[in-house]
């Protein structure tokens, strides 16, 4: 190859290199960011809190008129300002007059109804007192009749016994001979008394079961209604059940149980007595005395007590009972055997309400609710369950009756046997006559027993009748209700009349701005608001929305500047009344300030602003100098000189910083990471990052 050619090639190569040197330099410098530097300054960070909103009324005033009136003319529109007493709308006078007339007629009608009601009440009252008197009369009559027959039977018995005694005396039978017989007779009488007692217990129990079943059924039929009925002492309930048990539901149960228990105890004690008696039969024949009759009466009376005890709701009636009982005592005094018992009865009755009070006191809602929850049962099932509850007691009572009967029969058989033996021993020819007398005594004894049982029944039944008649009547408040209605109507009437006097015109109650009109000419007035007014006398307020992040720079009592939307009015130093979160937007806070009277109009747009300055920070940089890295940590870019192949160049250097406070344009940095003499990049003509080569603009 020629040297000259090689030299040319070398020259060309060098020329090309030179060209590309220039080109690459140019391309490189085009890629370098031009930046301006700034030093951190000592300054305060000002926080501008700014929000806009609308001026609102503090209070609204609703104008309401009588409902159902035809509106004549509406004089105001929404947004219109009205003065106090200014006409809002008027009502059609014809319609008003009509209403007044109607109202008057209604009042009249009501008054007439009240009058009718009053007369009806007095008639009812009379009927009731009559029925009660009747029942009392019936009761005392049947009781006296029963006691009369009882005493008659007793008399017969004594007579027969006496005849037998006399006959024996006449026959010359010695006292010693008949001693055994007398003892046996005594035992017989006791057995008979026990039998009567058991029979009465059984009757009482049966009646109680029936009552419990009826109660349960009725409660199930309509628990709520039942409650009312029971409380007011509904006559229906009274009619069906002579002894109205005001204890409801479960509460009734323990009572009934208690009663039944008591009865049972008594029956048992009776039985026991009987047993001990029959045991001591032969051993101690002389142990029994004449007080037996009294004991028997007492037993009967105790049963009566139990019945009264059942009757807590009837306490007022008990007062009435006393005279009745007195009557009874009077009628019962015919019989010597009855009289002590009767007096005791009266006192028992008087005492009872006090005891009963406790019982009724506990008869309250808990039981009711429980009962109600059970109330949706089948009636048959309820009846069955109630009966099942009582079944053991009933069985016991029946057994007691049977036992008593058996004992009585045995005792009688023993007596009979004894007598037969005596007769046979004496071998008298008059045995036939004596046998007749003995039979007569026995017949009298049986008649006496029947009469005693019948007397008890009469007492129980009669008692029921009296109770029923004595039930209080349902409370009747119709009268009071009518009175209240009347009062209300009169008030309405007076309002209508006032409206009429004002020619049907409705005026604004306060100075205000109409914010809502809910009536239309020709339509009826609604039940609710007719016209809504913004009350001007109560002032107005501005509620402005600010972003949540600005919330920390504003607090209650801060003085803010309020500027009206049109920029004409500026109010300085208005204190912040409240700051609250907006219900529908969590990121917005509502700042409320009170607007001084007359400064801004309701409905106006306005702006609220507040500049809060922080303490002075020594290192403040413009926000444009602050960058965030991928971890959201703030940093600034300082500039450092580097020796690169291209010579000394400026390179951006990342310096992590801690921002103490910032606003929209400046950020305050904490000391340590940079110093006040260190320049940082505050602006750049292109995006730069750590390590970017930069050229510092002058």
């Amino acid at each position: 190859m020629k040297r000259g050619k090689l030299a040319g090639m070398t020259g060309l190569f060098l020329a090309l290199m030179l060209l590309f040197t220039v080109l690459s330099r140019a391309a490189d410098s085009a890629g370098i960011a031009n930046v301006t530097l700034g030093r951190p300054q000592n300054m305060m960070i000002a926080h501008e809190v700014c929000g806009s909103g609308r001026v609102e009324q503090n209070q609204e005033c609703a104008v309401v008129t009588e409902a159902g009136q035809r509106v004549g003319t509406v004089y105001v529109n929404e947004g219109q300002q009205v003065e106090k007493g200014g006409l809002l709308f008027d009502l059609d006078l014809d319609s008003l007059e009509e209403s007044i007339l109607e109202k008057k007629q209604e009042i009249q009608k009501l008054e007439l109804q009240m009058k009718d009601l009053a007369s009806q009440e007095s008639v009812n009252e009379k009927q009731r007192s009559n029925a009660q008197a009747q029942a009392s009369e019936n009761y005392s009559l049947s009781v006296s009749r029963a006691s009369a027959s009882l005493s008659h039977a007793e008399e017969n018995l004594r007579k027969a016994q006496k005849e037998l005694k006399e006959y024996r005396e006449k026959e010359g039978v010695s006292e010693e001979d008949t001693l055994a017989e007398q003892e046996l007779e005594q035992i017989c009488e006791e057995c008979s008394a026990a039998y009567i007692q058991a029979q009465q217990d059984l009757q009482t129990l049966q009646w109680r079961i029936e009552k419990a079943v009826d109660d349960a059924l009725q409660k199930n039929g309509g628990a709520k209604v039942q409650n009312i009925q029971v409380k007011t002492g509904s006559p229906d309930a009274g009619e069906v059940f002579p002894e109205v048990n005001l204890d409801t539901g479960k509460e009734a149960q323990p009572d009934v149980d208690g009663e039944a228990e008591q009865i049972l105890t008594e029956a048992e004690s009776g039985l026991k007595t009987l047993e001990t008696d029959s045991l001591s039969d032969s051993a101690e024949p002389a142990g029994v005395n004449e007080e037996d009759e009294n004991t028997w009466t007492d037993e009967v009376l105790i049963i009566e007590d139990v019945e009264v005890y059942d009757d807590p709701g009837n306490s007022p009636e008990n007062d009435q009972w006393i005279p009745d009982a007195g009557d009874l005592t009077g009628t019962g005094s015919n019989s010597g055997a009855d009289s002590p018992g009767s007096s005791q009865w009266t006192s028992d009755i008087v005492q009872d309400p006090a005891e009963t009070g406790n019982g009724s006191g506990t008869a309250d809602s808990p039981g009711n609710s429980q009962w109600t929850s059970d109330a949706v049962q089948d009636p048959d099932r309820i009846e069955q369950s109630v009966r099942e509850q009582y079944a053991p007691e009933l069985e016991k009572a029946e057994k007691a009756v049977a036992d008593a009967l058996e004992k009585k029969q045995k005792a009688e058989a023993a007596l009979e046997d004894c007598r037969q033996k005596m007769l046979a021993a004496r071998g008298s020819q008059n045995a036939g006559e004596e046998q007749q007398l003995i039979d007569a005594v026995r017949a009298a004894q049986m008649a006496y027993e029947d009469a005693a049982i019948a007397a008890n029944e009469a007492a129980v039944t009669g008692n029921r009748g009296v109770e029923t008649a004595g039930l209080p009547e349902a409370e009747n408040s119709t009268d009071d209700i009518y009175e209240l209605d009347l009062e209300q109507m009169k008030r309405e009437l007076s309002k209508l009349e006032d409206l009429e006097k004002a020619d049907g015109k409705v005026a604004a109650p306060v100075d205000g701005i109409v914010t809502g009109v809910y009536i239309t000419a020709g339509e009826r007035t609604p039940d609710s608001t007719a016209v809504m007014l913004a009350d001007l006398t109560k002032g107005c307020r501005l509620t402005a929305e600010i972003p949540q992040e600005q919330e920390k720079y504003i607090s209650r009592g801060d003085l803010v500047t309020v500027k009206s939307g049109d920029g004409k009015t500026t109010l300085e130093e208005i204190p912040v009344e409240s700051i609250a979160a907006k219900a529908e937007d969590e990121t917005v806070r509502l700042v409320t300030v009170q607007i001084p009277e007359g400064k801004l109009q309701i409905g106006m747009a306005a702006e609220l602003s507040l500049t809060k300055k922080s303490a002075a920070y020594p290192l403040c940089i413009p926000l444009s100098a602050l960058y965030l890295d991928e971890k959201n940590q703030p940093y600034v870019l300082a500039v450092q000189e580097i020796n690169s192949v291209l010579g000394t160049e400026m390179q951006a250097l990342k310096v992590a910083v801690v921002v103490e406070e910032r606003n929209d344009s400046y950020a305050a940095l904490s000391q340590g990471s940079i110093t006040s003499s260190q320049s940082v990049i505050v602006s750049s003509d292109r995006a730069i990052g750590e390590g970017s080569r930069v050229r510092v603009a002058d």
Binding site: L6, A7, M17, F20, V645
Partner: protein
């Protein structure tokens, strides 16, 4: 390293060709021809192995970054498998070239640094080395032999031995981190003096005697007779010097801190796998001046190498 290998490759290629030429000059017998072919094949194989790195660099110039990563990943980026190198890229592209020429001003800074350093050193060696060689070759003075031996010893010393004393001296002279610190020690290098000494020494004494008789002074003899007759030695020393200083890497790495002063030889170590394409392109660019110089001064180079091989 690569360039050193390249130099070796060129050397072998040159030797190969020289031998072939000589063979041709010998005679044209058939046997000789067969022998020639056999020798060519025999020597061609190692020659191809030597040339491979150059081809490697050339194909790399036209390879995209993605392809380069695929092939070199196992070696340079710890990827699995074995490195491969196809001589023809799948998707040939000029982007590495464009990137180097347009987007790498650093390359040009270094290129011109290299040019500056190399030319300055060569110029200095011309100024200092040529008279020194002439003096040693043509004048007799006491201690000449000792001085020459000292030159030889210094020439044989590797850079690693001289590095520390040179560093201390340069530091004292405040020449560290300057181009002068590279240029000055190289200017006073003994190797070119040694090369040129051989050529000046070979000029027949009779020619110089004739000049003296014609009334020429020592300076005139040096400029008019010595330099023209020893030009082959001067050129070969310059070519050898160029190849050495164009590729020098230890001195700048040791004495230059400022990157802006670095020569092109330090550009390549800066290149990573991401810019492998640029690296290959830069290597090729670096090869071009050396190739041009070699082509221009091939004859002189051979003479210089032959001269260096003969020691007195």
């Amino acid at each position: 390293m690569r360039t050193i290998v390249l130099r070796g490759g060129s050397h072998m290629t040159a030797a190969d060709k020289g031998q072939a030429k000589r063979n041709r000059k010998g005679q044209a017998g058939v046997k000789k021809k067969i022998l020639n072919i056999m020798i060519t094949v025999l020597l061609g194989f190692p020659a191809a192995v030597m040339v491979f790195p150059v081809l490697f660099a050339f194909s790399g110039v036209f390879m995209s970054g993605y392809e380069l990563k695929q092939y070199l990943g196992p070696v340079l980026a710890g990827a699995e498998g074995m490195a491969r190198w196809p001589l023809v890229p799948h998707i040939p592209t000029l982007s590495p070239l464009v990137e180097l020429l347009i987007d790498s001003p650093q390359f040009f800074v270094m290129f011109w640094n290299s040019v500056k350093l190399t030319l300055s050193i060569l110029a200095g060696q011309l100024l200092v080395g040529v008279p020194a060689a002439w003096g040693l070759a043509r004048f007799s003075f006491p201690g000449r032999k000792l001085l020459y031996t000292l030159y030889l010893v210094l020439m044989l010393m590797p850079f690693q031995v001289l590095m520390l004393p040179q560093y201390i001296v340069l530091e004292r002279l405040s020449l560290l981190d300057t181009h002068a610190g590279i240029i000055l020690p190289a200017v006073f290098s003994t190797f070119p003096v040694f090369i040129m000494y051989r050529f000046f020494h070979g000029i027949p004494e009779a020619i110089l005697e004739a000049a003296r008789i014609d009334g020429a002074g020592n300076l005139r003899i040096f400029l008019m007779i010595g330099i023209p007759l020893g030009s082959a030695g001067i050129v070969s020393a310059m070519i050898l010097g160029f190849l050495e200083y164009w590729n020098m890497i230890e001195q700048p790495m040791t004495y230059l801190k400022t990157r802006a002063q670095w020569p092109l030889s330090l550009f390549l170590p800066e290149i990573g796998l991401d810019e492998a394409g640029t690296g290959f392109t830069a290597a090729v660019m670096m090869l071009i001046p050396a190739l041009l110089v070699f082509l221009g001064g091939q004859d002189y180079l051979e003479q210089g190498i032959a001269a260096a091989a003969v020691k007195e």
